[in-house]
């Protein structure tokens, strides 16, 4: 109980978000209408992804400093989990875009940036498969992981701000924060963000433990 309180918290928070997100009152907005509820699911996916990728970078740095194999497992599993959240973010975003912008994939810098960032992390996984030797694989992929993280940040959070984007908060559009994000949305939104980050961390820890067991089994053989 002492160790698993945060997992219970994650389940409680997410069930609260699902109930409140679908039933609680939302502000009446033009174009968005009821689809504003997607903000509880679409945006937290990307926050969770960012947190997971950040964990991955931290463990890659730790790996380079110490050379412990567990850190490499943590880094790769964080990227694997992060990519799951990235695909969920893309899927919810495409659903939302289809309703509000009339097209699942409009030509928008933030969408293209996220697609390219996804490609970059898929390239990380391809790089891992291309290398046979374990230590070499761990080291080189850690280097690529650290190298691509700042570029991912540029793609997702800096470039769309410079050009015109359909997303809020860029290219003259006002942010959600000062216009639409009123006090009806806020509590549920923050609960969702924390809840999904906790779920992501839980998935990460499960995958990491599976990886450890697998590597132990291989050692015995």
């Amino acid at each position: 109980m002492r160790k698993s309180w945060w997992k219970i918290l994650a389940v409680v928070l997410i069930s609260l978000v699902i109930i409140a997100g679908l039933l609680a009152p939302v502000p009446v907005l033009p174009i968005l209408h009821e689809s504003i509820r997607n903000v509880y699911f679409h945006v937290p996916m990307w926050t969770a992804m960012l947190v997971l990728y950040f964990i991955s970078v931290i463990y890659s740095i730790k790996y380079l400093n110490t050379g412990k194999q567990e850190y490499d497992f943590m880094a790769v599993e964080a990227v694997n989990t992060g990519i799951t959240f990235c695909f969920m973010g893309l899927a919810t975003g495409m659903l939302w875009a289809n309703i509000t912008w009339g097209d699942p994939w409009p030509n928008d810098p933030k969408l293209n940036g996220s697609a390219i960032a996804t490609l970059m992390y898929l390239a990380y996984l391809v790089l891992r498969n291309a290398l046979e030797e374990e230590q070499k694989r761990a080291k080189i992929s850690a280097v690529y992981n650290i190298f691509s993280f700042p570029i991912m940040i540029v793609l997702l959070y800096i470039l769309p701000k410079l050009t015109d984007s359909l997303h809020p908060g860029s290219g003259g559009n006002s942010t959600f924060g000062n216009l639409d994000m009123n006090n009806q949305l806020r509590p549920v939104f923050y609960t969702a963000v924390i809840g999904w980050i906790l779920i992501g961390t839980w998935m990460l820890s499960l995958r990491y433990r599976m990886r450890l067991i697998e590597s132990k089994q291989n050692e015995i053989n």
Binding site: L64, P109, G113, I116, A117, L119, M120, A123, V126, L127, A130, L131, K136, K139, I140, A142, V143, Y144, I146, F147, S148, P150, I151, V154, L155, I158, L159, L162, T163
Partner: protein, 219 residues
């Protein structure tokens, strides 16, 4: 020897090796010129947007081909020799610097042939030229690190493409925007944002390369 002297010696060595064989530079020059001619024969005349896009595509593939070679000539034994006498940071710095010079030279040649063969009015030629130089330098700084990574993975050129293209795309987006501004001759103050982003990306990639290369290098 301090870091700066080591870098100087290594760049000098790279330049001399290149000058003796002239293999890389000639093949890339031939590549650039023949691509320009193929494009010219295929399109004859194009509108400004396509002209710009074609130029950057030619530059992209030329730089991948040029920089892919930068670690191939360094054999395992020679790496070991460097390891005992110089700082790893000096190696990556010298490679980046040498590739920057090479790419800037190639870019000037490519730009001259391209604009002579393929005539197109430019609104602000000096800004366009500046963009070409800045772009080739940025290509060099990104691709050098990626080619360092692929050289450890057996110099696989497919891997080079897979690893470097996602990384280079944000640069290309900014470069195409900046060069389009230059073509239309928009007031230069409008382009300052893009130039700042390009320089920032360069600084970030070079610092990250400097920090990471010592780990990558040790086998």
């Amino acid at each position: 020897m301090n870091l700066l002297q080591q870098v100087k010696t290594l760049v000098y060595k790279d330049a001399i090796l290149e000058w003796r064989s002239k293999y890389a530079i000639n093949s890339i020059l031939l590549y650039v010129i023949s691509t320009v001619f193929v494009c010219y024969q295929a399109f004859k005349s194009v509108d400004a947007t396509i002209w710009n896009a074609l130029f950057w595509i030619i530059m992209l593939f030329a730089s991948v081909n040029a920089i892919n070679k930068s670690f191939i000539q360094e054999s395992q034994q020679r790496q070991l020799y460097y390891y005992s006498i110089v700082n790893p940071r000096a190696i990556i710095l010298s490679k980046i610097f040498y590739n920057m010079c090479l790419m800037a030279f190639l870019a000037v040649i490519a730009f001259l042939t391209y604009s002579v063969v393929f005539r197109n009015p430019l609104g602000d030629p000096s800004l366009y030229f500046f963009t070409v130089i800045l772009g080739s330098i940025s290509f060099a700084s990104v691709f050098t690190m990626v080619s360092g990574i692929t050289s450890k993975a057996g110099n696989n050129s497919t891997l080079m493409a897979i690893l470097s293209f996602p990384v280079i795309i944000p640069l290309l987006i900014v470069l195409i925007k900046l060069s389009q501004n230059a073509m239309q001759g928009i007031d230069r103050t409008q382009s300052i944002n893009e130039i700042v982003v390009l320089i920032a990306i360069n600084i970030i990639t070079i610092t990250v390369s400097l920090l990471l290369f010592p780990y990558l290098w040790r086998d």
